[in-house]
Subunit: 194 residues, 2 copies
Amino acid sequence: MIGLENLSRKEQLIKTAAQLFKEKGYAATSMRDLANTLGIEAASLYSHIKSKEEILQSLCFEMADKFRESLEEVENTNFSYTKKLRLGILGHIQVMARELTASAVFMNEHRHLSQPYLRSFLLLRINYINRFKKIIEGGIKSGEFKNVDTKLAVMTLFSSLNWMPHWYDPSGIIEPIELGHQLADMLIDGLQTK
Amino acid sequence: MIGLENLSRKEQLIKTAAQLFKEKGYAATSMRDLANTLGIEAASLYSHIKSKEEILQSLCFEMADKFRESLEEVENTNFSYTKKLRLGILGHIQVMARELTASAVFMNEHRHLSQPYLRSFLLLRINYINRFKKIIEGGIKSGEFKNVDTKLAVMTLFSSLNWMPHWYDPSGIIEPIELGHQLADMLIDGLQTK
DNA sequence: CCTACCGATCGGTAGG
DNA sequence: CCTACCGATCGGTAGG
């Protein structure tokens, strides 16, 4: 692992776990896998964390919080719905780009949370999705957007966004902001030439 | 479980496993979970199948085959790229709608395949994605589509399509074909009014 | 952060 | 399809 030198041991542990959870999945990652990657014994992990699930909890809820924060900034503006949607997409992608691994875990591994954490995570997520949906609905009412099925539209957006950590190459040419603009262009203007 | 009466015991077993793999994930689903759901002992499963992974293999490769078949039909036409893209989307969604659970497993659990199955699965998948990409590239060259980033375009399409099993309600109002048309409309024409 | 260890559960087999 | 069982591995604890 590279770039973990400045982090506390606990932060290193969570970052490393996120990597493993992303690659192998939460259930298929053992505490011994994690310990081996860090170069310590499995039992030693428990002086930093209380349980395996605690790691998943911090990853999921910290990301949920960052996504919510980013969208709230956009909501507190007076831009058109078209611009709000674009800024919402840009914000989401920038949060994701800063935490690509944690974002992938947020998207794919949250189902392994136990109750009551799972329930409150799903509430946060549906709330986030509904806020994007409100922007789309607003755009339809204002005449900016076509009268599409808003559930389909928002789920298309949400799945496109959240699958990005699986294929986006942060060392590649295209920058997160540029990527966000292109995705917004595609969804707002379509592929077709005018 | 409903509607499994006409299937062979092995087919029932695979369908039931798909449901559990979708809900809990492959790694978190134990053979005892599967046996309990079917109302038999875990050891009895092995008179129908060789291993847990064999179930995952049949699910993943059978779906890959159906998706490939559906896209090949579209490729063997002389339609415009716009129409090919639309028909490709419709085909994918119809295959998925017929096997919603297996499709979710295909999308999210394939990483638990061991070698050499994982490698050949990923080859099938990248081949499928590249065929969609070729349609988009063709449309750009012909002037039907704007000069977008084709990797972004095809991954947006692919992730939208494959996340559908997680939110699409087959008992709801909207039919798979109608859904496919609306998704195609969105991606091709965009959200924006003209 | 380590050694030593716990009970529970895992995928799977033998033999009927 | 069952009983009986296997060795391996799981998340986690006690005590230092």
